[in-house]
Symmetry: C2
Subunit: 459 residues, 2 copies
């Protein structure tokens, strides 16, 4: 998609060095929602509220981590948007795997590093700075803006739904714009029109009351690790497909147009393979890599743990499993199908526990010709002149999207300046520094554009 | 087997409370060979050397942890024995799993707790105290005694072989007596006539260069955990047998006599099951539990590790595997068979590394009518009057035994007062306090008996 350049003003933004110093103080707050130290989460929320003082920011309690709310509603007649993002981050994992400490933002050439720089602290930071620039230089925002910044996105937003339902009137908006999400790749701008859903569960196999000496008890009892391995191995076929009956219910065959769109996208598999460092790509037989990534559900074992290196029969073996969902797959049906599958496997001599996590999320999709998508494409075309703007899929999961559609009746536009290769959820997470300037300019243009186009459509 | 009571002197031993205080100081040294802090290992060796001052104790370097050597050779005409044991211990694992800190010896009713109390610090302590009592009360030992106490038994004694070969002349003995090993169960005395061999290896499956976001990359690359699960699941059949071709080479069918011996032993499977807390016992179909434990080899996955609970495709998945060997299984052939088996499994999209650990050990056996076994039975019959002395198998592995037979031409008698249920290698390791007195008396009687019987046989 291409568009003509928009005319109009240009905000001036602070120097990058100044911006980075400020971002550093935000990255330094280790707001890991999976660990969830209330004081730390509160500090991160307070940091955001401080940035949003111009919009009457406040920190509101939920049954989990608090949400940060702010409203600037002094543009009568203009549309109202709700900006969504999150201040929580993934656990850093083993800090030895990081080249710089995860909560000390590093600057390495043209990138910044640190947990949360690209998911989602950096991208939220950009919209805050744009809003501040509008206020300082124009004394107003071009449209009405509400902010909803949560602290539990990385654990599936378990308390967001209740909060949004309780505050549905206050949060009402014409459009939600998510600062979470990501550009698909660094080489061209893209707007995401869909995201995958998710369910996850823990699988635990229990054997004896304690770890047993593998010699003195070996051969007399079942080893929980052996059972876990068999259970896990049963989840996929050699063709790469998930071997759980019913798993693919609700997954549609692509229509010819969508298949043609995907096939038309330049995607260098060898380049992609090299960037990941794998000996070959892998997935469902007979389906192209991009088609698998964007339009097929997955079941991944995210972690396993049992025993250690020394010679025991471990008492317990644990796996964590998550599925990314597409189209009309229902999270609860997927959990049921996996549970039935696992329960049907023989497991003599051990007991098996299956514990679904809270917060299953359906897949989300917005139509390519939705006005919000058109505005976003126009904004990106102005910031990235001469480049094609792709319509992509976020293969990640943004739990809030389905919720906003159900409760607020508003579509969500993904407008993030993260890029999918920036080691989200992994050690050495990074953000390209140039994305900060690009992102701020794009938010500025988008807001001006929406103020015009959405007001115009009402007129 | 039964025997008549031996006449003769009786040493007097210190009060239990005094002995336990002294043992406490030894348990307090965290001599974990897998971690192997040289200073800590040296402290444990020095503790032993201090106890053996009467026998010119010395600490000798190896390429790994040092060995403690001592010799008391002032009994001309009497036989010479080599007492073997080890001062290293297994890692404590997660300290949260311990009811008392692993390196602070606890006294709970009729047991002491702590890492190493039963494997092998407590059992070695008993023989030291008996030797000291002989020296104090009789001014001499009843026979010539050499001590060889190593610091790498729990990691497969990787440097012991070189040391013993280099010092074969100095270590020459008529019989090795191992203070490592264990009584089979607390209800009757037993002498072990065999121990299992061992080999172990690490299996690593490598995927991408870093952990990948399971959404943004899911469906495009193989997940190393999926491959590891398939590889591990392929190692056993549903009948509980190891499914690796060639694994059972060298394993003999039992002859009728041995089978009848095993079948004649009172073994309450339900009691055993309850003691372990498993829903049912499990192992090779059609073979009795005790037969499996004593005469069948095993392949156990001792630990698995990959990723974590959060939503990544882990870059790497690791398993540690060990096998307990019987009869004439050759360690190197078992490693080869497993390697061939694993290499033959398909593993698209990942690489697989197989790394055997150092120190494969053959199974060991001594004939039931060996004079050393007869002496041990006689000694136990005196300490446990009226009780049958069973001939049992140590299903654990004592790497030094095959070595002593090869290099010194000496059989090894297992003479330990550990009991197999005392949570060796696991959290909350313990030792029955009564075993200390029983063990010391038994060592006294054994030495007196060997001095008579082995000298007699030379006359």
């Amino acid at each position: 998609m291409t568009t003509t350049k928009l005319s109009g003003q240009c905000l001036s933004f602070p120097d990058t060095a100044v911006l980075l110093e400020e971002l550093r103080s935000y990255i330094a707050i280790p707001s890991v929602s999976r660990v969830s130290d209330p004081d730390v989460m509160q500090r991160a929320a307070a940091w955001l509220a401080g940035q949003l003082a111009f919009a009457d920011a406040r920190i509101e309690e939920t049954e989990g981590n608090p949400v940060v709310r702010a409203d600037w509603l002094r543009a009568p007649g203009a549309p109202t948007i709700l900006v969504y993002g999150h201040y929580d981050v993934q656990p850093p994992g083993d800090e030895l795997d990081w080249e710089t400490p995860p909560f000390e933002m590093g600057i390495e050439g043209d990138v910044v590093t640190g947990r949360g720089v690209t998911d989602d602290k950096g991208p939220v930071f950009m919209v805050l700075k744009v809003a501040q620039a509008f206020m300082e230089q124009e004394g107003a925002l071009p449209l009405n803006v509400k902010f909803l910044l949560e602290g539990e996105e990385e654990i599936g937003s378990p308390h967001l739904a209740a909060y949004v339902r309780e505050h549905a009137e206050e949060l009402a908006a014409d459009l939600v714009i998510s600062a979470d999400g990501a550009m698909w790749r660094p080489t061209e701008p893209s707007v995401s029109i869909a995201s995958k859903g998710m369910v996850s569960l823990s699988l635990t196999v229990n054997g004896a009351d304690s770890d047993l000496h593998s010699g003195r008890f070996g051969g007399t009892v079942a080893n929980p690790v052996h059972t876990l391995a068999r259970l896990l191995a049963s989840l996929h076929g050699p063709d790469g497909r998930v071997a759980v009956a019913g798993f693919y219910d609700g997954v549609h065959e692509l229509d010819d147009q969508r298949r043609a769109e995907i096939d038309a996208i330049a995607f260098d598999e060898e380049d992609y393979r090299l960037s990941l460092g794998v000996p070959e790509l892998f997935g469902e037989t007979g389906i192209s890599t991009l088609h698998r990534l964007w339009e097929r559900p997955t079941l991944e074992i995210n972690g396993i743990e049992s025993g250690g290196k020394y010679t025991v029969i471990p008492r317990r073996a644990v796996a964590h499993i998550s599925c990314r969902l597409v189209h009309d797959q229902r999270p609860e049906d997927v959990i049921d199908a996996i549970t039935v599958h696992l329960r049907a496997q023989p497991h003599p001599g051990v007991t098996v526990e299956i514990e679904p996590d809270l917060g299953g999320v359906r897949a989300y999709r917005v139509e390519p010709d939705d006005p919000s998508v058109r505005s976003a494409v126009a904004a990106l075309a102005e910031v990235y002149p001469g480049q094609e703007v792709l319509l992509a899929v976020i293969a990640g999961t943004l739990p809030a999207t389905a919720l906003f559609e159900d409760v607020l009746g508003a579509k969500t536009l993904f407008f993030s300046f993260s890029t999918a290769d920036e080691k989200l959820h992994a050690p050495n997470e990074f953000l390209r520094i140039r994305r900060i300037g690009e992102g701020m300019r794009a938010w500025e243009v988008l807001w001006r554009q929406l103020a015009r186009s959405m007001s115009g459509s009402e007129a």
